[in-house]
């Protein structure tokens, strides 16, 4: 027995454990022999990419997208037209003319910069504060108003609350109220478009609050594992209604989550329309070329209230809001850029403001005069086809209205 043990000992090689590598299927990494927790870096987090300073000066000329005067003027006009429409529609809700509204104050740069960087047939999934994307693509004021007034011209047939826009021709999927539901949907749509192989991308907008939803995690993970040509665009505007970001997350914002999913990520100055443009443009190019998702976190500030049902003075100071309105606003920054090049004068500003206000008011008055859709449309599109049960319910309603017509506002609706 002694000789057997000796023989065994002789056969044992000297063992160098540092040569061992982890073989786990779940991760590819090296071994480490010191106990140390990885520190989440929230003090100096992911840096914010910008092209212009707050005065509209280009910082690094090689990052200047060098867009034409015509393009830049269009950016500016779309941002300001959106702003004008917001003011008028917000006011109209206060006056009881429409039931509800959400403004986009302070975030115009995120809409226009990103929309401009896409192809016109890229599919857009939004949350609810992206009206500028639709405006940039050419959605007419009449139809914005029609949706808010839920009149007979509304493409959505009057079924949803204001600002729940949608437009098939402009590839803007109809907005829904539940938050973040669009995120995994965007991944699925991108997968389908990838298979179609027609060089189309998907962009999915959401706020930093919606990013807390399970659907956001689902969408990020699916898009990365299934290799989808998709841009996730997070508008981090500091608040989810009254909830500030330090109550929404404890990590380094949304951009820091991207790498956790294996996703290329960037944080940009959302109030710098050129930074937004550059990041979106490059993300779009690579998403389609490489079939992988990109995460853009656009830092910005929600200057307005969450909606007409909110008074944000209840949870933040007027001074804070004024800072962003006066000192760091995407519209002012672009105007400085334009005036520095002699592309825009005080007269241009005055006449454009007047003209845009006039066109908004015309659309507004027209929308207000228009009748609401026929109540028959209460019952259609539940399924592609009508079914007998629903038809019976519809007949029952119409019989009822015939008998009790004085109690129903029939004059407001198309016959």
């Amino acid at each position: 027995r002694h000789s057997l043990c000796a023989a065994v000992q002789q056969q044992q090689q000297p063992f160098d454990s540092s040569l061992e590598k982890p073989q786990f299927p779940g991760a590819s990494a090296e071994f480490v022999d010191r106990l140390e927790f990885i520190q989440p870096n929230v003090i100096s987090g992911i840096p914010v990419y910008r092209v212009m300073d707050r005065q509209g000066n280009i910082i690094n000329p090689s990052e200047d997208p060098q867009l034409s005067k015509e393009t830049v003027l269009n950016f500016y006009q779309k941002m300001t037209l959106l702003n004008t429409m917001d003011r008028i529609l917000y006011e109209s809700q206060r006056q009881g003319r429409i039931s509800f509204y959400m403004t986009n104050y302070g975030e115009e740069g995120t809409h226009i910069g990103s929309a401009a960087a896409l192809e016109s047939n890229d599919l857009v999934f939004g949350q609810y504060r992206e009206a500028g994307v639709l405006m940039y693509r050419g959605f007419p004021l009449d139809l914005f108003m029609a949706q808010c007034y839920a009149n007979a011209d509304d493409l959505g047939k009057g079924r949803q609350m204001p600002v729940h826009y949608g437009c098939k021709d402009l590839h803007f999927v109809t907005i829904s109220s539940p938050l973040a539901t669009q995120i995994p949907q965007a991944a699925g749509a991108a997968y389908a478009l990838k298979r179609e192989n027609m060089n189309r991308a998907v962009i999915c907008y959401f706020g930093e609050g919606a990013a807390s939803e399970g659907d956001a995690h689902a969408g990020f993970n699916f898009s990365a594992t299934l290799e989808c040509p998709l841009i996730f665009f997070c508008r981090n505007n500091g608040y989810a209604i009254s909830t500030p970001t330090n109550e929404q997350y404890r990590g380094d914002g949304i951009a820091a989550r991207g790498p956790g999913y294996g996703m290329l990520s960037i944080r940009v100055d959302g109030n710098d329309v050129f930074a937004v443009y550059n990041a979106t443009k490059e993300a779009r190019r690579r998403a389609v070329a490489e079939n992988q998702p990109f995460l853009i976190e656009a830092m910005t500030y929600r200057i307005g209230h969450h909606s007409t049902s909110d008074d944000s003075s209840a949870y933040r100071s007027v001074d804070e809001v004024n800072y962003w309105d006066k000192q760091d606003h995407p519209i002012s920054r672009l105007r400085h850029y334009m005036t520095a090049r002699g592309w825009w004068s005080e007269d241009d500003e005055r006449s454009w403001r007047n003209q845009s206000r006039k066109t908004v008011m015309e659309a507004f008055e027209k929308a207000e005069r228009r009748l609401k859709p026929n109540p028959e449309l209460l019952f259609t599109d539940v399924y592609q086809e009508m079914n007998p049960t629903l038809a019976k319910q519809r007949e029952s309603l119409f019989r009822h209205i015939q008998q009790y017509k004085e109690h129903y506002p029939l004059d407001l609706y198309e016959k």
Partner: protein, 380 residues
Amino acid sequence: MAAAARLFIRGAHSTLAISGVGTGKQSSLFKLSAGCSSRLKAQRHVAHFTFQPDPPTTEYGATQKMNLFQSITSALDNTLASDPTAVIFGEDVAFGGVFRCTVGLRDKYGKDRVFNTPLCEQGIVGFGIGAATAGATAIAEIQFADYIFPAFDQIVNEAAKYRYRSGNLFDCGNLTIRAPWGCVGHGSLYHSQSPEAYFVHCPGIKVVIPRSPLQAKGLLLSCIADNNPCLFFEPKILYRAAVEQVPVDSYTIPLSQAEVLQEGSDLTLVAWGTQVRDVASDTSRSVSPEHFRSMLNFSLVHVFQSVARTGRLLISHEAPVTGGFAAEISSTVQEECFLNLEAPIARVCGYDTPFPHIFEPFYIPDKWKCFDAIKRMINY
């Protein structure tokens, strides 16, 4: 609401004047002899029924012997072959699925068309909605109907409302969601549920539950072809137990057409999915079985006609009785057939408890409970 359930009441063969209730697997239980009850004392894991296949048909072309999961595979195979946009996805579908419904499809059609997703039902359904909206035929698998609830928001708030809320600009009619459904003998709380009632309450989706391989393939193909989002619940206990001749080629069975299997004059019996096990053995009565393919309300017309004739209705489902779909049928039938009713409508359903493990033989609405309910109705 539009739910499509496969209600099936099967005619008995032989001498019984009573037609079978429920799925074909019932029929052998019609012989309620001592031999039959000794079969009931069988060991655990043996199904409490024997599936009785439909007689072979050439209505849809050449057939092949298939069990339920094979008939599903066949439907999916036909779909992938004919529709280049079709994709199948969910947990574990790539290797063939935990119930073998997708065996062979990835090898045959490619990994971009049959693929695993991360373990996330809300993601699976959300992804499916988006793919369908973008034009693909999206067939999502949820591993067990018990796990469909993380996707409830996507199904109810999104899929069901996509067309309506957009004014018909957008829809996800190309979406079909499949999930194994119903009791299996040992599934307990989380592998036995029948959640159809939650979904039939939601306008905008269709809910379909087949009773047999032949029905399953035709109904699944109808769901896939249907331009509305559909939930297709597959009775898991039938995956291997139900075997019959199933057409090899594509065919559809209408989702919203009822089928009267056998005319009777004394009693109307309604059930869906696996719940056809129970049949009265009262040989002096004749029973009218209603065979529903779909739970769409308007197919209740045939129930009304039957109840107007028989005056008695029994509805049976595994799901808990309170708020179950039998309540909806019962309420509608009493509205339409009040004066025809000879007895209160009977519901023989699961109890208002979670689905138990060791107590399953006592929980399920078995044939003896149906038999007893029928006796009480006849003697009312």
